[in-house]
């Protein structure tokens, strides 16, 4: 399992890796879901397998507290030009990772609100992809 204090987040563009200096959290939404359905007469106890979400991309949302101006500017450019990137989240100790490959940046990477509390000092880096790869490594006990 990932722990945010052991992890790096960032993205790869044109073969070059860029890492966020201060990352608060990452949230994933995987779109594909399996369901069981059956007739309304309710006699089928096995059910029929049904699937949804095949047309919807997976989403990763990085809450970035701070990054260099160069990376921020590059993100804005990539968003405007709709360029493809690989967004990664990786465990520094083990090398375990989740990578959203051939992703596009969904939201304009801008600070969404300005206020006094901690949560306002960040912007959302949200990407969508149909090609998510991962490397799973056994946790040490």
């Amino acid at each position: 399992m990932f722990q945010i204090w052991n992890c790096d987040g960032g993205f790869t563009y044109n073969g070059v890796n860029y890492k966020f200096k201060d990352l608060n959290s990452v949230a994933y939404t995987y779109s594909q879901k399996n369901h069981l359905i059956r007739g309304a007469n309710a006699t089928n106890k096995m059910g029929i397998l049904s699937q949804e979400g095949g047309k919807t991309p997976d989403v990763a949302e990085y809450e970035v507290q701070d990054c260099s101006k160069a990376i921020y500017t590059l993100l804005l450019q990539l968003f405007e030009e709709r360029q493809r990137i690989d967004a990664f989240f990786i465990d520094r100790r083990t090398g375990e990772y989740v990578i959203f490959k051939d992703a596009i940046i969904r939201d304009k990477p801008r600070q969404a609100n300005v206020g006094e509390d901690d949560t306002s000092h960040s912007f959302m880096f949200a990407v969508e992809s149909f090609n998510v790869t991962e490397k799973v490594i056994e946790d040490e006990q």
Partner: protein, 309 residues
């Protein structure tokens, strides 16, 4: 020389990414042929036209051009002592085609040094074609002597000039090889000899094209894949200047896996897995790359039951 004031005001560190390695040589062919009477030997010449080839030899390697290759290297020789010539040349190629004018005895004397590519030879003798085709990356091509190796040249020309790696199953061929019965064809197939089958309806068709009992594209795909993995590793390391950490090893692994995945997406490989891990040594990471052999589908053994129950 840059202006000192400009350099003083603004010093710029120039930076250029490492380009991909060239894989063009994988599709280049050297034809080893008998020279013209009184003709020179031992020199490799790049030819782009039939007339340039005919100025060196009467062999039919111009068929490679007609099949689609933009150029061929031609080496007129009286024997097959090639090691010194191959070592000295600056021309790069991955295929050597030995013309059928060289006999089995001459071929047994072949000295190719440390050449690791594909060597094809055309001969009108099933046993000799089989023996040659059962070594290294060799291709034993059965063809009538009267055809002057043209079928071999055509098959290689088609494969190497194609946009992607295809095994050229049943393409139309320029000449028949005298094989027109199922029994003859079965014997050729059993021995994994490359040959042309002639049928009444479909005329002359390439009925098997293999390198040492494997798909003909296998040695080419391995060579290209190896080169692209090496090139990707160089590009990755020079662009990202990685530290010696688990996360960097994982990102390098993902970059290399992307190269293998490209071949899987094209259907050339069924799967492939790259694993990069740290070691106790300085500077060096350990990588394991598991790639299945590219295979080709040539024949179907079917069972059909007639009637209804």
């Amino acid at each position: 020389m840059k202006d000192v004031l400009l350099e003083y005001v603004m010093k710029v560190d120039a930076y250029a990414p490492t380009p991909s390695a060239s894989t063009a040589y994988i599709r280049k062919v050297l034809c080893v042929v008998k020279p013209l009477p009184e003709g020179a030997t031992g020199t490799i010449t790049e030819c782009t036209t039939k007339s340039e080839i005919q100025a060196l030899t009467t062999a039919n390697c111009h068929v490679l051009l007609e099949a689609g290759l933009p150029s061929v290297y031609v080496l007129p020789m009286n024997d097959l002592n090639l090691a010194d010539i191959l070592e000295a040349t600056n021309k790069k190629f991955f295929t050597i085609l030995v013309d059928g004018a060289f006999t089995n005895e001459e071929l047994n004397e072949l000295d190719d040094g440390d050449f690791a590519g594909v060597i094809g030879w055309s001969v009108e003798n099933r046993e000799q074609a089989k023996n040659w085709g059962y070594g290294n990356n060799n291709v034993g091509f059965y063809d009538l002597d009267v055809n002057g190796s043209q079928n071999m040249y055509y098959a290689f020309g088609k494969m190497l000039s194609a946009n992607n790696w295809k095994n050229q199953q049943y393409i139309e061929m320029p000449f028949g090889s005298g094989i027109s019965s199922i029994n003859q064809a079965e014997l050729m197939f059993e021995d994994s000899i490359s040959f042309v089958l002639t049928s009444e309806e479909y005329k002359n068709r390439l009925a098997l094209f293999a390198s040492n009992r494997r798909a003909i594209v296998a040695p080419y795909v391995y060579e290209e894949l190896t080169l692209k993995l090496q090139s990707k590793a160089l590009q990755y390391i020079s662009l990202n200047q990685p530290n010696y950490t688990e996360s960097e090893a994982s990102l390098l692994e993902d970059a290399l896996q992307g190269v293998v995945d490209g071949y899987v997406e094209q259907g050339i490989l069924t799967h492939g897995k790259v694993v990069v891990s740290l070691t106790d040594e300085q500077f060096v990471v350990q990588a394991s790359i598991n790639i299945p052999e590219p295979k080709a589908l040539w024949r179907i053994r079917a069972t059909m039951k007639q009637g209804e129950i």
